[in-house]
Symmetry: C2
Subunit: 299 residues, 2 copies
């Protein structure tokens, strides 16, 4: 099996602005950029972003302080930006808008409806409309993308592979509805499909199904994660991390399969280590759409 061709980072000249949501990815990305000698400035959102961004040049904002966010980018000369780390759909009724936000209220109002991808595409267009170049996290740190084939010690069994194929089909069937980056299949039985609740909540539900005897024997079943067709890659690449593996283990699953080259691994080494420690497989699958590219199907 030929190794997938490593992607090169996109060449970025000026300081990189990182608009940071939840989880470890904003700092992982900042580390990757710093290692490459790229100056950067992180804009965090109180209550969403981890405090560890304070290790880097940063500005804190609150939900609704769009003016402050834009000023922070401009003050630090950031014309290239990355929007990274999920956020909960904010409660607009509790938000206090600053002047910069009020000037952009028609845009903000438009975000209240529609599927995730719909919303995120509009976020990208908003920043592009103001002259920013919006990059994907994988443009800046391609080393975070999941590779092809087994990524840890274990490999899926033939039964696991059948569950993986079915789960990818489920995700694919839902993609045109702008929903569903993930699904859980055990022994040919679809246990859960992700919609607005998110991957962690879906895995907690599977753990509950397992506890109540409705998910069959423990150690069987897989979660797959893949982008939706036409998904706005630059702001919403599906992401897994060590916590995904922990929750998959709590749900009694055999392992995790992701779309190779299309899913980010927050802290790849820690994620693979978690899989090995828990005895779960972690595998990157080439999607049918990608088969014409460099990567080949594992197994």
């Amino acid at each position: 099996m030929p190794a997938p061709k490593p992607r090169d980072a996109v060449a970025i000249a000026g300081p990189l602005g990182i608009i940071a949501g939840r989880g470890p990815l904003p700092c992982v990305l900042a580390e990757s950029a710093e290692a490459r000698g790229l100056p950067l400035h992180i804009v965090g959102i109180r209550g969403e972003t981890r405090e560890e961004i304070e290790r880097f040049p940063h500005t804190w904002t609150r939900w609704g302080e769009l003016g402050k966010l834009l000023a922070a980018l401009d003050d630090h000369g950031c014309r290239d930006i990355v929007i990274i780390g999920g956020v909960d759909r904010p409660d607009f009724t509790k938000m206090r808008f600053d002047f910069g936000a009020i000037r952009n209220l028609p845009y903000i109002a438009g975000l209240r409806s529609g599927g995730d991808d719909h919303v995120l595409s509009r976020v990208v267009r908003f920043f592009e409309g103001k002259g920013y170049r919006v990059h994907g996290a994988d443009d800046v740190a391609p080393e975070l993308l999941a590779g092809v084939g087994p990524l840890g010690d274990r490999v899926p069994s033939a039964e696991d592979s059948a569950d993986i194929d079915m789960a990818f089909q489920v995700v694919r069937a839902l993609g045109r509805f702008d929903v569903g980056q993930a699904a859980v299949v055990a022994n040919g039985h679809v246990l859960a499909v992700e919609a607005a609740e998110g991957t962690d909540a879906m895995l907690l539900r599977c753990a509950e199904l397992r506890r109540t005897g409705r998910a069959g024997r423990s150690g069987r079943g897989v979660i797959v994660k893949a982008p939706k067709p036409g998904q706005e890659r630059r702001v919403d690449l599906p992401t897994i991390g060590a916590e995904t593996l922990n929750k998959a283990a709590e749900a009694g699953l055999a392992g995790v399969a992701v779309a190779a080259g299309r899913v980010l691994m927050a802290e790849p080494a820690a994620t693979v280590a978690a899989a090995n420690k828990l005895g779960l497989f972690l595998v990157g699958h080439t999607l049918a759409d990608d088969a014409k590219g460099d990567a080949t199907k594992p197994g």
Copy 2:
């Protein structure tokens, strides 16, 4: 709009055996059969079936007492049977099998895997293989099937209708995976897709999404319920009741849409009354597959 042609009950000669799971449907069905002058015998499962079956001729069994179940049917001359009311996927490891179950262990073992419909089709084939005629609840009590058009006082808005159409498409896209009788769509955004957790759990999840501000404005969004394509109608017709309407209201939805003639209403009058009391619409939609039949699309 022409009224849907009422179906006639299937002619059944001998005593009707009702194998009863959870919820009100076993008794509702027994009442319907009694009103028609049909003798019957209910076999209940302890911990699943409501005690009110004791109003009718009945036998209690426990999970695993398949021999007792078959003997109860035979002792009361039931060759025509209905299997009605959902059961949780039982925990086979905690089951005590009687002799009749042990004789049929290869069949029982086969039930442990596969999707719901897969399992239920095998249950039907098992009883048919023993010479029973297995009827659907709608064969015995066609008056329980949801009709076409608005069933209560309220009607869906244009926006609701768009959400309904999308939700039916989601359910349809998943049907070939033997999963998903229900989905929730609000304002063009898929909030939840039902898999193994069941409709009530899915609606509770939507209520949580609403509470945490991730489901938009209350009073918007619909749940649709429809059978899976090729679903074993005789043992697994999707069902709604007053509780479905209560949970939809708790999730802040605008209403409930079902596939007309393909979804059972447990206690139709109480279900419609609940919709009216809660201010939710309740509507039966003709599926595209059915459009060649008698019913026409509402609105």
